[in-house]
Point group: none
Chain length 176, copies 2
DNA sequence: CAGGGGTGCTAGCTCTTGCAAGCGCAGCAG
DNA sequence: CTGCTGCGCTTGCAAGAGCTAGCACCCCTG
């Protein structure tokens, strides 16, 4: 039979254990959140450096303030989807890629073979398939020639299309 | 020859016209933003009603406050991606569907497998991925518009605007 | 040297998001 | 009737997003 003192100290110990446990969970989550911020920030800086663009220039083309972009890159702030989309536009990359880095969007498991996917894609005409495949091969070669470094993203290397590639109209869209 | 009074009143009228024009633009944008808020809010309410779930119950399972959920449904607040993901979980629907309704994410045309293959292809830089996706989507739209005939290869131009990027936020004044 | 241009960052501020506390209404049971 | 539970909504607030004004540093030119 426990005495009252023993019972109380048992309860205190039990509460302490629970608090410790919750504190651990909270700390772990905070760490995770901070890591995700740094991840998208690091990624943005990488892409920016690869494109040889200054922080100010990217902020200008993205339409965000340069101090804020600096804070985002350093993981001090967590940008909204809207800001991420703007930064993606400035970087000329897809917004989805930044959403993924930010943990907002899961990377969809796709067919690991891009060539096979394009070849068997029934949404495309034969000619368009050929154009896409040629462009793809060109990009892969460029990527390989630069040792897989992101230097392939420098502006001077991304504006060219292979000869024979018919330009496509930009689909009109956009609603705020 | 104009008199000074006529010149001034002409200037005033010109300024008024410009102000009216800008006010119209601002109002139109505000309307658009408000419409998108209502759109995702309406969509959430529709899904909630379809699931026969009360606002409080959904707020509980989603882990958001019920007044806030109410405001979101009525278009009074613009929820973050995190909140949208939580609501999607509560509704047992995909977060992407809510992102789309919120205008954060554009639905990609074409075969999802091809899109996923390009997006996850590590032989490509992020910029090249964006270019290929843009071109792919353009071709898919052309293919669909012409009923899939091989004559669908009219000249067109790609622009540096990835399909995944919603419009830019309001441009900020450069701080430097 | 001073001045100009570039770079990225600090600090203070305003506005928006998301919350807690609580409201008013309806329906039901005792 | 009162008290309880459910419903969705109002209000005020704290925290954080994103901005502006400006700083510190670097390099170059006259």
């Amino acid at each position: 039979m426990q005495g009252p003192g023993e019972f109380v100290s048992g309860q205190v110990r039990s509460v302490r254990e629970k608090v410790d446990q919750l504190a651990g969970t909270v700390a772990a989550e905070a760490q995770q959140v901070s890591a995700v911020r740094s991840q998208v920030g690091e990624y943005i800086r990488e892409q920016r450096n690869a494109a040889r663009v200054s922080l100010r220039e990217l902020a200008r083309t993205a339409g965000v303030s340069n101090p804020y972009l600096s804070q985002v890159e350093r993981g001090l702030r967590k940008p909204s989807a809207e800001i991420l989309a703007a930064i993606a536009r400035g970087l000329k990359i897809s917004a989805e890629s930044l959403y993924e880095q930010a943990g907002m969007l899961d990377r969809r498991a796709g067919n690991p073979d891009t060539v096979a996917a394009i070849r068997s894609d029934e949404h495309l005409s034969e000619r368009h398939r050929a154009v896409l495949l040629e462009l793809y091969e060109t990009y892969v070669r460029e990527h390989a020639a630069t040792g897989g470094t992101a230097a392939a993203d420098a502006p001077s290397t991304t504006q060219d299309h292979p000869a024979g590639a018919p330009p496509a109209p930009h689909p009109s869209k956009e609603s705020a």
